[in-house]
Subunit: 185 residues, 2 copies
Amino acid sequence: MTDINFKSPVSGEGVPSARPGDASSAASARWDIIELLFFAYRDFVGDADHVLEAFGFGRAHHRVVHFVCRYPGLKVADLLDVLRITKQSLGRVLKQLLDEGYIVQKAGDSDRRQRLLFATAKGEALVVKLAGLQTDRIERALCGLGADEAKAVSKFLRAMIDRDDPDKVLQTILQSDSAIAKDVT
Amino acid sequence: MTDINFKSPVSGEGVPSARPGDASSAASARWDIIELLFFAYRDFVGDADHVLEAFGFGRAHHRVVHFVCRYPGLKVADLLDVLRITKQSLGRVLKQLLDEGYIVQKAGDSDRRQRLLFATAKGEALVVKLAGLQTDRIERALCGLGADEAKAVSKFLRAMIDRDDPDKVLQTILQSDSAIAKDVT
DNA sequence: AAATTTATGTCAGTCATGTTGACATATCTG
DNA sequence: CAGATATGTCAACATGACTGACATAAATTT
């Protein structure tokens, strides 16, 4: 086994004095943002998890019903692009949401092979409830910030997203988002 | 291809009246931030996923070796607090990382039941590599922002995190983070 | 010293959610 | 009509969570 090359073992409490890669390429790594993102996202999705459990659903169901609710008429193929999962994975949760009446399908007008997806009132209620919890957290976090700072957050998140293969939903989001960004700066 | 209909016509059964958030309690929901967080985090963790696949590891391994590397001497119990998983789940990935020489254990001085965890040079190399990819993305996102805006991002992420039961690692992060926020980074 | 608690490890089974590959069906397009 | 496309589905499998039960060593309490 390799020897321990860091500092001496911190007695009892794990104190993070030594940073990995002190002088190497990692000297400038944004450990702070990396870890803040981990904790922030963990707690962000945690809000919804408790409610979902009471419904017998998981995060997969949340993602599906959320995007269907927000972008009514989404095709199955669009949803696959957004979620980046296989149709088999989507099929399982989508079937449950259909069976339990959170989502309905409608054949496309021009192309009747397509199944356009819509949230029912029941589905919308769930989405709104979950989004409400997450919005509460976001508002709490934003209320300590000025308007310019809030815009900075939006700009940052937008810039963190890959642009090379934007699906339809993402395109829509990024468009409206850049409109906002141009208002400020 | 079908486009996304925001106010889609839905005729059938239990159909959604309109987009969520028209006039109800969801009127003020931060759909923008909710969805930006989803896409940003999806692409953020995606960076590491490709590399991990080549090592035969998953995200679980990444989280473990990352925090062990960053906070040398972390106890198993600390790690359980941070990751919020059961010891059985941790045990599986930790065993692999130990067997393959990415992490070593050392009995605690004061309490020899404790297994203090340390990343080896091999483990640190992996962590630095993965953090490098994620740092690249973060720097790309931050470089379009001013110093004040970058601080706003840090403030926002910090404020998104639950404060009621901060584990040792999180305490450290939140402390240093507020220090940074006051510095001129 | 003995009993109890604590920190950790491990076995066995289950569940949720992802994967690949193959194939069926309806529908559109050339 | 022939082929491509959109979707659905079956079967098998991997990962990473979970619960419950139990083992061991070391610390702590009685």
